[in-house]
């Protein structure tokens, strides 16, 4: 078995098992969603050592010793906590099924760069499909989070 860290706790995965399936089926951590299982929708986005990645493309052997943060752990990240507040205010989502992935993509970006350009925000979401919102409410939430992060530091 391969060891990794899941939201700060030790966890295990078989080397040839898909992280997404391990989370949802074995561990029962269903916050991370499955939308396509081929890396094309971003519903399964998690942070792998801080970088957004598709849990459906990560096999056990790829995450040996890595720190995986899922939506369940988003609140522990400073940028994640701000993003949550911003998305609530802007009503970023509708059905919410894409939300865990979108939130992790944006948290990964904002943790690295708290002041991305509009184009940078969009690029970070290129891999996340949302069928309900048409993305604008998500982008409004992301821009508000950027503003809140800026206001915090000034």
């Amino acid at each position: 078995m391969i060891r990794f860290t899941l939201n700060g706790q030790p966890a295990e995965i078989a080397p040839d098992a898909m992280l997404l399936a391990t989370l949802r089926e074995n561990i029962g951590a269903t916050g991370t969603k499955a939308g396509c299982e081929i890396g094309r929708c971003g519903a399964c986005t998690v942070l792998c050592d801080g970088a957004p990645m598709n849990a459906c493309l990560l096999m056990g052997w790829q995450i040996e010793g890595s720190e995986i943060t899922t939506i369940e752990g988003i609140g522990t990240l400073a940028a994640g906590a701000v993003l949550i507040r911003a998305m609530e205010i802007e009503n970023g989502f509708q059905c919410g099924y894409c939300a865990p992935g979108v939130m992790m993509s944006l948290t990964g970006l904002l943790s690295r760069d708290p002041a991305p350009s509009d184009a940078g925000l969009e690029e970070a979401l290129e891999g996340n499909i949302c069928r309900c919102t048409g993305y604008h409410s998500i982008l409004r939430g992301a821009r508000l989070a950027r503003k809140m992060l800026k206001d915090e530091t000034t």
Binding site: R40, T45, A51, F93, E126, G127
Partner: protein
């Protein structure tokens, strides 16, 4: 699977020679598996052995093969950084390596590497990239690139970003003393094999760029490129756009041809409009009650349920479009360890059929399969792997039947019958006036056939949920749109009384009509019943794509004539619709299309016929818009095309033909008051987008917090922009024929006002609307409300969550119950407080003083105790016409689009969208805005990128790699949505439906914008870029 991690390259090579498959980032394998590749038995990890990093050397740029594409993307390298941006989304770029993309052989970076004349270094030595591609040998270690002075890169895909490649082209060129001394041209990517275009390079060498004849260059390039046809794009298109891109990239853009834009005489005076945005909404903007849990990933969807004794279910699909079942043998599957139940049609005690309109769809097929996704058997096992193995052990013997692949074929005399009753499902005919007399008056005539796609709902949560024995019956929890009806259908199949069945249908991760019909419930219920244990079942995307309901493709032939002044005098319409293998709600969709056959216009003489046929092309049924948006596409384009012939501007043309408020509907039926077509036309005519024309207004879009700036989107030098508009006219409710009623109740329990409403929360904001409507009507706070919904045991039957009826159901339920409930609350408070009722009022948190301005509760809701449900039963308002299905209530709107047409690729970019709506008072602003924006963008998908081509009854797209829903780069730069909220004095019908307005008229608005830009109307959706290029050429 064996996974080895060799310590050295030599060891790795030995393992690979022994049959191991090398893997570095591993980003491409899942896609390959989904396309049918078998997972290798042995992976050899090489990522850790590969050099990483970018080095600038004298003879070029040297890049380690293990360098992630994201690092190259950020490095600002000529050509290659841009190419890496276009390969995939950032998540994948972080995983994927340069060496991996090359070794895969189909990567769209390859043309860029060829144009950079890459040298590939392996342990065997150095070779040119072309030699490597011809005979890939050894593990790639380094690539050395040799950029030239000028480079060009373009990937053409199926949407703006993160798309499969149709063709990618790369070029590089150096001039010395004004002459071309070095040039490299390459294409490849996706189905296009990588190739260097040597003959064209030879022709260019020595020429001065100014002297290069562009037409000859493009011709030579097109001849040199070898490219295939595929279901999405033709070889001709591939060659044409790659040639145009290379030519434009190295030698500049072709000249622009001026088009006469649509005239926009004088601005109209807009009606009163509410801007829908947080900045403009102020106190009307609230956080939706379901938002906090969704944002934190804390909402448990029905497919998220886990429990230790829960089995995993899977469904065996036919996998063939049309066949007779000779036998089904489940013995081996049943004998497999870990299998708890296998069910087939033999386990069905009741009616083996379902369908909202008629029950032609088997729960599990018995004698025949009619589409590839037809379910034949299902298993429940201890885990997913065992369930998958059990499926493979079920032996079904089929006898294939001829496949009915199109509506025309289905309706031909000699066609094989999909169902015994024949292939014609329904025919709808509407006539009015004297058509011959109408044509006699016609001076201008426009005739065309509009084609609309087999759009997929693409809800992010695929069909699924769980079921378990409960008491003497079952609880079945699957995302749906009408629990009570699902229960009725299940009861019929299981031969179990309805009171033994509890059906939970919320929350759902999106539905859009695609979960209105039963999906996996029959299989799941049968498995839970037979195994006596809880079972969960969640379709993979691939299974959902194959098996799920889609929008009915339609062909709308339309001939419309007007007199010299522009009055429409005659129209003939012939519609064909593909029902797929079963009826579901497809007859309703056709009926609705036909009911909108003249749009919101007065047309004295028309004849319209629509036919719906069974085929073996998947299954069709309900999808947001429900036929109306398809018909609106045709009508609203016809109007613009006639306007052009008459010489009227589009607004004047519409005004001339608009139906008079209060006049009978299309079928002669009585319709509700508060018609707002004139107001919507005025809103459009006054719109800055409409008036701004090609360049767009300087300031556009709602005010926003945190935005960099607020402006309409700019166009690039290779684009031509245009603006178009279309009217929305959408019937609400189920119509006169089906039962359309609702139960609703308000109760007080545990300190909360319980709203008991059987509708579903599918993302649209039904729960937010309940909170909002109750708080507005009663005076309590929004958080004093608790919604009980989507559960047949706890909530009453409020009808289906479809047809834009939810807003009305919520509002009317509150209106009906509020007086009784308020009285009960105040009476109770008066008893407890010993105060007269008149002195008391409901306030946020409880009961307060009636006369105070900012009342604080003197008694909390919790202190009031419990109040028994105050119930209401009511009908959705209906018209008086029963010869066919007719709507009484309509919602109105005007949709405007500013669109850029790319002169090189024929692709469209939606720059700005604007939508004015008139659907009565807005109950919850955020939800309403969300419905409009989401609907608009779903409509953008319908118009530009989404289709499910079928080949011999099999879908070509299998997953989101080729089924292209809009991504974040495909949506308009700005969207502005307004609401004209007022109703006529005395109008008793409250808010109109918002769910389907957004998608209703965006397609014709875009089509009309394209015509404004290039002078011709595209009529096939999604607009093929090739057709756009042809139209542009034809317009010259």
């Amino acid at each position: 699977m064996r996974i080895s991690r060799p310590e050295t390259l030599a060891e790795a090579e030995a393992l690979i020679a022994g049959g191991g498959v090398p893997v570095a980032g591993g980003s491409g394998f899942q896609l390959e598996f989904s396309q049918g590749a078998v997972a290798p038995a042995h992976y050899v990890r090489i990522g850790h052995l590969l050099p990483m990093g970018i080095y600038r050397e004298i003879d070029g740029l040297c890049i380690g093969a293990g360098t992630p594409l994201e690092e190259i993307r950020q490095a600002g390298l000529p050509l290659l950084s841009e190419a890496c941006r276009d390969v995939a989304a950032p998540n994948i770029r972080r995983l994927a390596t340069l060496g991996g993309n090359l070794a895969w052989g189909k990567g769209c970076l390859i043309p860029a590497l060829i144009a950079l004349d890459a040298t590939v270094e392996t342990r065997e030595g150095e070779v040119n990239i072309l030699d490597y591609l011809a005979e890939p040998k050894g593990i790639v270690l380094y690539l050395t690139l040799r950029p030239l002075a000028r480079q060009t890169w373009r990937k053409i895909g199926l949407r703006q970003a993160f798309t499969a490649s149709i063709i990618a082209s790369a070029g590089a060129m150096t001039l010395e003393r004004g002459k071309i001394t070095a040039v490299r041209l390459a294409v490849g990517g996706g189905a296009t094999p990588p190739q260097r275009l040597q003959t064209v390079e030879d022709w260019l060498i020595g020429q001065t760029p100014e002297a290069v004849d562009r037409d000859i260059l493009r011709e030579r390039l097109e001849q040199a490129i070898s490219a295939p046809d595929c279901a999405f794009r033709s070889a001709r298109y591939r060659k044409r756009v790659a040639a145009a891109a290379l030519s434009a990239g190295l030698f500049g853009l072709p000249e622009r041809h001026a088009i006469r834009p649509v005239s926009r005489p004088k601005a109209t005076i807009p009606p009163e409009l509410t801007e829908l945005s947080r900045a403009d909404g102020g106190a009307r903007w609230h956080t939706r009650p379901d938002m906090p849990a969704k944002i934190r990933g804390e909402l448990t969807y029905l497919t998220d349920r886990r429990s230790p004794d829960m089995l995993v279910g899977r469904i065996l699909r036919a996998g063939r479009p049309h066949a007779r079942i000779l036998s089904i043998d489940t013995a081996k599957a049943e004998a497999l360890d870990g299998v708890a139940a296998v069910v087939t049609h033999r386990d069905i005690k009741g009616l083996n059929g379902f369908g909202i309109l008629f029950q032609d769809q088997p729960a599990l097929c018995a004698d025949k399969v009619r589409y590839t996704g037809d379910p034949v058997a299902a298993v429940a096992a201890v885990d997913a792997e065992t369930a998958a193995r059990a499926l493979a052990l079920i032996e079904v013997i089929y006898e294939d039947l001829p496949v009915v692949t199109s509506v025309e074929a289905a309706l031909a005399e000699e066609s094989p019958a999909v169902h015994e009753r024949g292939n014609l499902v329904t025919e709808v005919i509407h006539d009015k006036g004297d058509l011959a007399a109408g044509w006699a008056e016609a001076v201008h005539v426009v005739e065309d056939t509009y084609v609309t796609p087999r759009q997929m709902h693409g809800f992010m949560e695929t069909e699924g949920g769980w079921a378990a024995p409960e008491g003497e019956g079952l609880v079945v929890c699957v995302g749906g749109q009408h629990g009570a009806r699902d229960r009725m259908q299940l009861s019929r199949i299981l031969a179990l009384p309805e009171d033994k069945l509890r059906v939970i249908t919320s929350p759902t991760g999106g539905a859009f009509g695609g979960k209105d019909e039963l999906t996996v419930q029959p299989a799941l219920a049968l498995l839970a019943q037979k195994s006596g244990r809880p079972v969960r079942l969640h379709l993979s995307r691939a299974e959902s794509v194959e098996a799920g309901i889609k929008r009915n493709p339609m062909w709308l032939r339309m001939k419309t004539g007007c007199d010299a002044r522009g009055r429409i005098v005659a129209q003939e319409v012939e519609v064909l619709s593909d029902s797929g293998a079963y009826a579901s709600l497809s007859p309703g969709v056709l009926e609705t299309a036909m009911e909108h056959v003249v749009g919101p216009y007065e047309v004295g003489n028309f004849h319209a016929r629509g036919r719906l046929a069974y085929t073996n092309n998947g299954i069709g049924g309900a999808f947001r818009g429900f036929g109306a948006n398809q018909m609106t596409f045709a009508i609203e384009c016809q109007i613009d095309r006639l306007a052009e012939k008459v010489g009227l501007d589009p607004i004047a043309m519409r005004r001339l033909n608009l139906r008079r408020p209060g006049s009978p509907g299309v079928l002669g039926q009585k319709v509700a008051p508060s018609e707002r077509l004139i107001e919507m036309l005025d809103a459009a005519g006054a719109s800055p987008l409409w008036r701004g024309g090609e360049t767009g207004p300087k300031e556009f879009g709602p005010k926003e917090f945190g935005a960099e700036e607020m402006r309409s989107e700019e166009i690039g030098p290779e684009e031509i922009a245009g603006v178009g508009m279309a009217l929305n006219y959408q019937g609400n409710g189920l119509g006169t024929i089906p039962e359309d009623e609702a139960d609703f109740a308000l109760a007080l329990k545990g300190g909360k006002i319980e709203a008991r409403c059987g509708l579903d929360e599918i993302g649209q904001g039904m729960v937010a609307s309940l909170h909002a409507a109750i708080s507005t009507r009663l005076g309590c706070g929004r958080d004093d409300v608790s919604a009980i919904f989507g559960d047949t045991k706890r909530a009453p039957d409020s009808g289906s969550t479809t047809a834009s009826r939810g807003g009305y159901v919520v509002w009317r339920g509150v209106e009906e119950t509020a007086p009784g409930f308020t009285a009960a609350l105040l009476e109770r408070a008066s008893e407890l407080l010993h105060r007269p009722i008149e002195e008391l009022a409901i306030v946020p948190g409880g009961i307060g003083e009636a006369r105070l301005n900012q009342p604080k509760p003197v008694l909390s809701f919790a202190e009031l105790g419990e109040i028994a449900p105050v119930q209401a039963h009511y009908a959705f308002p209906k018209s008086d016409y029963f010869k066919g299905n007719a709507r009484f209530i309509f919602a109105f709107g005007a949709t405007l689009a500013r669109v850029a047409v790319n002169r090189i690729t024929g692709a469209l970019r939606i720059l700005d969208l604007e939508m004015h709506t008139a659907a009565g008072p807005v109950i919850d602003m955020a939800s309403y805005l969300g419905q409009m924006e989401g609907g608009l963008v779903q409509g953008v998908g319908f118009t530009l990128t989404e289709d499910m081509p079928m080949v011999k009854g099999r879908p070509v797209a299998k997953n989101f790699d080729t089924y292209m829903m809009p991504g974040v780069r495909d949506v308009p730069g700005t969207m502005r949505v307004t609401a004209h909220e007022g109703l006529d004095p005395g109008d008793p019908f409250g808010p109109r439906g918002a769910g389907e307005l957004g998608i209703g008229a965006v397609t014709p608005a875009i089509a009309n914008a394209v015509a404004d830009a290039i002078g011709r109307w595209p009529v096939v959706t999604p607009f093929p870029p090739e057709m756009i290029l042809d139209l542009m050429e034809a317009a010259r």
